[in-house]
Symmetry: C2
Subunit: 878 residues, 2 copies
């Protein structure tokens, strides 16, 4: 039979899963002899049982709770509801992982019409006792019983008005006693029952409220954002009350053993005398720095700093402590590993190694990979930012800060960028044709679009700062001006954009570049030594490539060639190709693209300095290269440019229309119908590789990746076109170069026939974006309309496009990896979907034995660290 309730003295720090983080630490502290108020923890398993039992607490659990309560009473030497010396408790939630959004703390539980008198006597302060009681009723009604809190607020206001005051403090004990009666009536009105006088009833209701709060929308949202499964549940901590507000020998405070903002190794805390914990947090009174205590209460200060030091050494990490001083006696209410900024995390981890407290690998585990993101982007100079007023706010779509001159079209932005200007690209929304302008911009600002709009997705991929969906922006493209809020800006006027906060500022705020040296470099060095997975990047331009290499990328895992086709001079030839009627016409049009594409690849190979590059062949459906039919002006312009008719273009647009373009004529299907495309791209890749090898001496082995393959025959067909072209190129050049041909595994059918496909493939790269779409049958462009219902109803607990769905999509990935290696034990395996930069997914990839992950340049350090975490955890588990 399970045990559902543990006294603090029965637990320890290792029981985090069962007792929650808070409970496990209270138990640990109790057992190492620190002054912790008595209490017990109701386990996370009790929470799970609560849900399984249809949201009720089973009688045997209730009984265990009462037994534990009795022990706690004995330890405290007080009794629940005692009119002389009442036992009062706090009730707090405590999940395995720290989780904002859960239930607030309930203090002073156990107060009732009788014990309030006991408290008054004991503290010799009836006003304090009745104020505590009315606060308890208010808190219990709001948090536990969900009664509208305005009712209590209004009654309080009325009491003050009656008294002719606006200050709570003007209310006397008698006034508060009357207010308690009013509050109890409000309670009875709302619930239909008297306010519970039995502390046991109060306690059971409070525990149930904590369990319920595990499933409130805020908590669900937080779990989804942080990959916390709902099956974990929360524990409940019931702890004897101590009072920091009984007089001037009382106090309360919080402290970090090191500075949580900078990481500096110096205790950092604040306290208030004669106050409860909530007073410190609420900010009504200004707390004192902890150092002041050295003078006012040197003994307590000494005791506390010793405890803090002991706890840091005990947990071998920076601690975040809560303490209360009750009549000159120090109590520790909580300790936990302290939250810290990314900068502090890195410094603390490195310092702890230098102090001999952690091994290098342990230090690596102390920094959350996701945190690194904020260290890698330029930020606004903090001093300058203090004086800046923001003029608008949008969605913080892609982190980083940028300042520069406004341009309203991608081509003008690109031109200005080429002239060396710092540029902000401002558009209503961006399209694939804007790629080049976006690449030249310091930051991108759009009036419309959400977090998954084109601008947002592409900017994140490029690591360019972006704010999207900014309603204060009113662009008049024709006039080359924009109204932001009340102010009118012309082309060339300056603004600053913070993609991490969504804020837009007037004028130029100086930026500070991210540094990847010092502590950061040391930590990443340890990470690199520990990891097994290689980390590559997804990059389509030399600039991104250099950025990624700077961040430690070991090559390119995904070079999307279609971005290269959208640039102005090429899209014309691309359209010519699409409008062709014969293979000859198509080849002629492709011949025009060849020199551009070859030059692109040459620049990429040069930027990589010999590192490997996987080139994915043309993927999107051809209609993406043509305007939609309603864009009549564009169509006319194209007709003129290409010397054809508007009708011919409209006819082609109709012909290319697809009901479900995601599952249409794209990927390798393009090269099956038009092998000329694969041939041209092969020529471009191999000629570029041969040229750069000759010029620079790099040992290049190009990796050609055929997308959207579902059958072995499909891959073989396109591969034949590649090999045939390669033979021709080698003959023309009079020399050969090694190259690999592989495929993206992104069609469910490919995963189950991976053994066959591996016969034709030198490598697999899992394209988990499309694989997720097709495995779930979710169109990413449309699923937004119903996914919120899925999250709200706990049908999905996370976004499968952000974190790989291990149970479904992941199962297919694992199967494909296994089948592929059955055919070719040395088959190289990687992942290049957006999941490639997600730490949880990276751990999964490590565990199933992939060779590398590939992610956007700014995710590279995150991935390196996550890969190290996976390897170290695996080692520790052995």
């Amino acid at each position: 039979m399970s045990k559902y309730v543990y006294l603090f003295k029965e637990g320890d720090a290792s029981m985090r899963n069962l007792l929650g983080g808070k409970g496990a630490n209270l138990a640990e502290m109790t057992n190492i002899g620190l002054p912790v108020p008595y209490g017990f923890t109701v386990t996370t398993e009790a929470c799970t049982r609560y849900y399984e039992d249809g949201k009720t607490i089973a009688p045997e659990i209730e009984e265990e709770i009462y037994k534990a309560l009795q022990v706690a009473e004995e330890q405290a030497g007080k009794k629940f509801g005692d009119p002389e010396n009442p036992f009062l408790v706090s009730v707090r939630s405590g999940a395995r992982a720290s989780m904002p959004g859960m239930m607030d703390t309930i203090l002073n539980l156990g107060l009732n019409d009788v014990s309030v008198e006991g408290m008054a006597k004991l503290t010799d302060n009836p006003r304090f006792a009745y104020d505590s009681y009315r606060r308890f009723i208010q808190m219990f009604s709001d948090v536990v019983m969900e009664i509208d809190k305005d009712l209590f607020h209004n009654a309080l206001e009325a009491a003050k008005a009656k008294k002719g005051t606006t200050q709570d403090t003007d209310l006397t004990a008698e006034d508060l006693k009357e207010l308690v009666v009013v509050f109890k009536n409000i309670y009875k009105e709302a619930i239909g029952k008297d306010f519970p006088q039995d502390p046991k009833v109060q306690l059971m209701e409070a525990i149930k409220a904590v369990f319920r709060s595990w499933d409130n929308p805020r908590a669900i949202y937080y779990r989804r954002m942080n990959d916390i499964p709902s099956s974990w549940g929360t524990a409940v901590n019931v702890q004897s009350m101590v009072f920091g507000n009984m007089g001037n020998d009382c106090g309360t405070g919080v402290a970090f053993t090191r500075n949580p903002a900078t990481g500096e190794n110096k205790i950092y805390g604040e306290y208030l005398m004669n106050a409860q914990g909530e007073d410190v947090v609420a900010g009504i009174r200004t707390p004192h720095p902890l150092s002041d205590m050295q003078e006012s209460m040197p003994e307590i200060h000494k005791q506390f700093t010793e405890i803090a030091d002991r706890l840091e050494k005990h947990y071998r990490d920076m601690q975040d402590l809560e303490f209360t001083i009750e009549r000159g006696k120090l109590f520790i209410l909580q300790t936990r590993n302290g939250k810290r900024t990314a900068q502090a995390a890195v410094k603390i981890a490195v310092d702890l190694v230098d102090e001999g407290m952690l091994s290098e690998e342990e230090a690596v585990l102390k920094v959350e990979p996701k945190q690194l993101d904020s260290l890698l982007h330029p930020t606004f100079d903090a001093t300058a930012l203090k004086n800046a007023e923001h003029i608008a706010t949008g969605l913080p779509a892609s982190p980083g800060a940028g300042a520069g001159k406004l341009y309203f079209t991608a081509s003008e932005a690109a031109d200005a960028g080429r002239r060396g200007e710092k540029v902000i690209l401002l558009r209503d929304e961006t399209t694939p044709e804007d790629i080049e302008g976006m690449d030249f911009a310091q930051a991108i600002l759009t009036a419309r679009g959400g977090m998954t709009s084109h601008a947002a997705v592409v900017a994140r991929g490029m690591g360019r700062a972006a704010v999207v969906g900014c309603p204060a922006v009113h662009l008049n493209e024709a006039k080359k001006e924009v109204r932001i809020g009340d102010k009118l800006y012309k082309q060339g006027d300056t603004i600053s954009v913070d993609g991490s906060t969504g804020k837009v500022y007037d004028g130029v705020i100086p930026t500070v570049e991210a540094s990847v040296s010092g502590d950061f470099a040391r930590l990443m060095g340890w990470a690199d030594a520990a990891r097994r997975l290689q980390v590559r990047t997804n990059a389509d331009t030399p600039r991104d490539t250099k950025q990624a290499v700077h961040f430690g990328a070991e090559g390119i895992g995904l070079c999307r060639t279609e971005h290269m086709f959208f640039e102005a001079d090429r899209v014309k030839a691309m359209r010519e190709m699409i409008l062709s009627d014969s293979a000859e016409q198509r080849s002629a049009a492709l011949d025009k693209i060849l020199p551009f594409q070859q030059k692109d690849f040459e620049e990429m190979f040069e930027a990589l300095e010999g590192r490997p590059m996987t080139v994915r062949y043309l993927d999107p459906p051809l209609h993406e290269f043509l305007p939609v039919k309603s864009m009549t002006a564009e169509i006319e312009a194209i007709a003129k440019e290409l010397g054809t008719t508007v009708e011919a273009i409209n006819e082609k647009i109709d012909e290319l229309h697809e009901f479900n373009p995601m599952m249409g004529h794209r990927g390798c299907r393009l090269s099956v119908t038009y092998p000329e495309i694969a041939k041209m791209q092969t020529r471009a890749v191999l000629q570029a590789a041969l040229n750069v090898r000759k010029e620079k001496g790099y040992d290049i082995v190009p990796e050609i990746m055929i997308p959207l393959v579902g059958t072995k025959a499909e891959l073989k067909f396109v591969k034949n076109a590649v090999v045939e072209t390669a033979e021709k190129v080698f003959e023309e050049y009079g020399e050969k170069i090694d190259y690999h041909v592989g495929t993206m595994i992104e069609i469910p059918r490919a995963t189950v026939t991976a053994d066959e496909i591996a016969e034709e493939a030198d490598f697999f790269s899992f394209g988990t974006n499309d694989l997720t779409q097709m495995t779930f049958g979710f169109s990413r462009d449309d699923a937004g309309k119903f996914l919120n219902s899925y999250y709200d109803n706990r049908i999905l607990e996370f976004d499968p496009f952000a974190r790989l769905d291990f149970d479904g999509v992941g199962k297919l990935v694992k199967m494909a990896a296994k089948l592929g290696r059955t055919t070719k034990p040395e088959l190289k395996l990687g992942i290049c979907g957006e999941h490639g930069g997600d730490p949880a997914t990276i751990e999964f990839c490590h565990n199933i034995g992939l060779n590398y992950v590939s992610c956007s340049p700014f995710r590279v350090p995150v991935a390196r660290l996550a890969a190290a975490h996976a390897a170290i955890k695996e080692k520790q588990a052995k």
Copy 2:
């Protein structure tokens, strides 16, 4: 080491896979002592080697061929190229399955400038010899070397013109000798080499041509239509020539041992004296019935009929024989199981049982399931049809014949149908709203659309005759008239439509109903006794249900409820629901649909008389219930009808727009966002079941099927709404009814998590249409644009929407079946995609242990027979 060449005397009938059908039978006949000309077979494995070796014949195979040739020469007592007594051979292809589209026969191979003289002497007929030679050159050049045959035709015409005649027969031996010179020059011109004089070279070239023809477009197309894998390859038969055209004691003919049209047990054949086989086929001379031979050559006739009888008994099946009489001696050139009509197939199978030749199970295997289709639909009375002229031709989209009065809208067609009129629904194209009118029609005729258009797909599903894409039809709906070709028809005028041929006739041609009694019933009885798989039907109307039950359906495997929503009176309420802003409004609109839907189900339960029914809940995306934006008149009408504005409707249409509706907001996703829908449908199903049980006493256990489930949580969520509603209904009725809740497995993710999903499911039904779309990543609406390239390039060898893709989609189905049964060993498993009526797929379903297949009503007998085939084959293999 493999043996690639078999003399006829080395083989037997069991070696069909290796020797091909023709070769195996020639070997068998040789070994049972029948007069078969000497020869040998080059195996199908040699063909496979040919392709593996880059389209060359390996030296060791060549050597084997020459060795076999030498033996054949010795047997024949002749020698290749002998000027006295030349050995001449025929070369014929022969695959495992009979395959039109393969290479034509080559006769007289071995003729050259020398042997032609030998032949002239031997036959004492130089004209015959030179005519044979020029024919051989012509045939070899065309069939083997692919030289333009017009070149030879023109040369022949020129020779005749020079002679001043138009008849081949006016050309003398000398003329033909000259023509041979001309022909050889044409050959040299085209190929760049002399016409090969070495018979061995001729032979090797001919064999290679047979191998090549395995891969010509016609053969590929035929294989795809008939599920023949390309890996089988073809064999080549090389056989000593015998001549039926050496004089009046010579002849040739073909015969069936029973009548191939009716199945009558009477030998049926034709022959020609002094002729070659091709003359019988070409139809230049009218052949005599075989019975005539009884008088002209009684000995030969007796010998032949004895052989025919012996072969039928030997093969225990009706035989199709080719024979030649050379100078009074009978040779059998070929025997094979004869092709026959469906009617004949059934009669012959039943007769062979009655004659003691076959067991009942063997007889079941003698009828191809696909053949049955033609027996099940009404046909036009043959005599009446002879005198009818067709007025137009379209695509034969759905088999069967129908005649009646023309109506041009679905609602008028339905009204007329309700009045008892026989109706033809003629439309430009049909939409989902036309369902009811289509159901009431005898046949459907549309001006536009292809074989996969709405009209075609729905008509096939209903078993209604349909001709689509008929360009001669010009409808003027406003005027209620149509021009078909030159003739104008008003509403109410009569036409007849043959969905099996695509032909349209003026006036009413009487139809003959299909009979499912007599021999057919006996055969199906044997099939039912043999099969293990149950056969259900996909039906949405009482009419279809009755039809399916008549055809032996054991229940409904898929009742699509959305068809019930498209009918005129319901679509209004449906639109009200879609335009609702709140759950209350939605519920109110759904309440209006409830009585209709409940009545539908009551009628269905009554039609089923206690058989089970699986009801699939609403599946299509909601935008299908609204017009597209360009249909302004419809939108105005709807706005008026619903008392809302055009803007409101347009806004909703925009809101519901999806980029990839296949993967959008549909299936169970509708019930996740709007649980009211599932609740209303549950009420309708259960109330109907309770009412019909009460009234009729049927023991009904409704099966509720939740579509498009990808996760267990999704199913559980919708199931909760079902169970909750069921409890309410049972309370209101004061009685309960058993019901099952299951799901359609049609999302790849569901297949890999089927063990989890089975925890919440009473049954799985594989929706292989959508599963195929998502597993391949093919949108069925769009894939037509590129699938032809896939077939042409042998990337796909069959249509995965017609036959289940066993290697990919099938693997997922198998995995899901296994996982599901791991959780629940008794889990009921079925298939309800269009594949459910495909014989090859049915065999697959049998082998992986499904409980039932479900298919359209007219496919039910096909499925029963196919299921029996699968069971009998399995038993035989043990």
